[in-house]
Symmetry: C2
Subunit: 134 residues, 2 copies
């Protein structure tokens, strides 16, 4: 599906408490949890149709995501949109004077997904991630 919402990321103080709502009360399936020591977050992915809700719990108060939560409060953090060709998309964004956080796509070693972030200054305050699936 074109431009599928791959995931909506939500920063939370506590994964168990967040899963009480999303899984136990609302009834979404927990797909998996993972620890990401590089980004200093623990993550739970719950299934929402062809998308996931990605719950992010900071594990280090000095990390970027912890400081975001300290400043803005818990809540929606970013939305990730799938694109067919991330480099062509980034080129078109630049031509429309949209500011990118990453100059070139990064590649996740675990699953070969290529990704890049768009700056919230260009999107009315919404941090948008792009995914090109392998």
């Amino acid at each position: 599906m074109t431009h599928n919402i791959n995931h909506l990321a939500i920063v939370v103080p506590n994964l168990d408490e967040a899963l009480h709502f999303w899984r136990d009360a609302l009834g979404l399936n927990l797909a998996r949890t993972e620890e990401n020591p590089d980004e200093k977050v623990n993550i739970a992915f719950v299934e929402a149709g062809s998308s996931h809700i990605e719950l992010l719990q900071p594990t280090d108060p000095e990390s970027g995501i912890a400081r975001y939560m300290e400043k803005r409060g818990a809540g929606m953090h970013h939305v990730c949109i799938e694109v067919e060709d991330i480099e062509a998309t980034m080129q078109r964004l630049r031509e429309h004077n949209i500011e990118l956080i990453n100059d070139t796509p990064k590649t996740r070693p675990t699953d070969q997904i290529r990704y890049a972030f768009i700056h919230p200054r260009s999107t009315n305050g919404v941090l948008v991630e792009l995914y090109e699936l392998p």
Copy 2:
């Protein structure tokens, strides 16, 4: 699809400027626009896979949505999740001590969608809407 993200709503100061990003630069299709004088917003729906991005521009500075934007800034406002049986879902939420904004589902006269909102106090600051499609 179970628990599909029906839409992600984003409050913006100006629809044309928001469409410059979502439609012209990122390439999402504009599905439709509508004026909602009751809620005092103009709305543009852009397609994102099986979901929509719902762009909300307040039309009256005294409205709830305008005051939200004044206080919190532009950005993601709520996420809407589709459920099979909204009353059963609301009952299960209550049993898990989740606070609802609406005691009973409302029905939109235009399309017969039944909907209700969950209070952000119970969801780490995320305003969640439920849809039961007709």
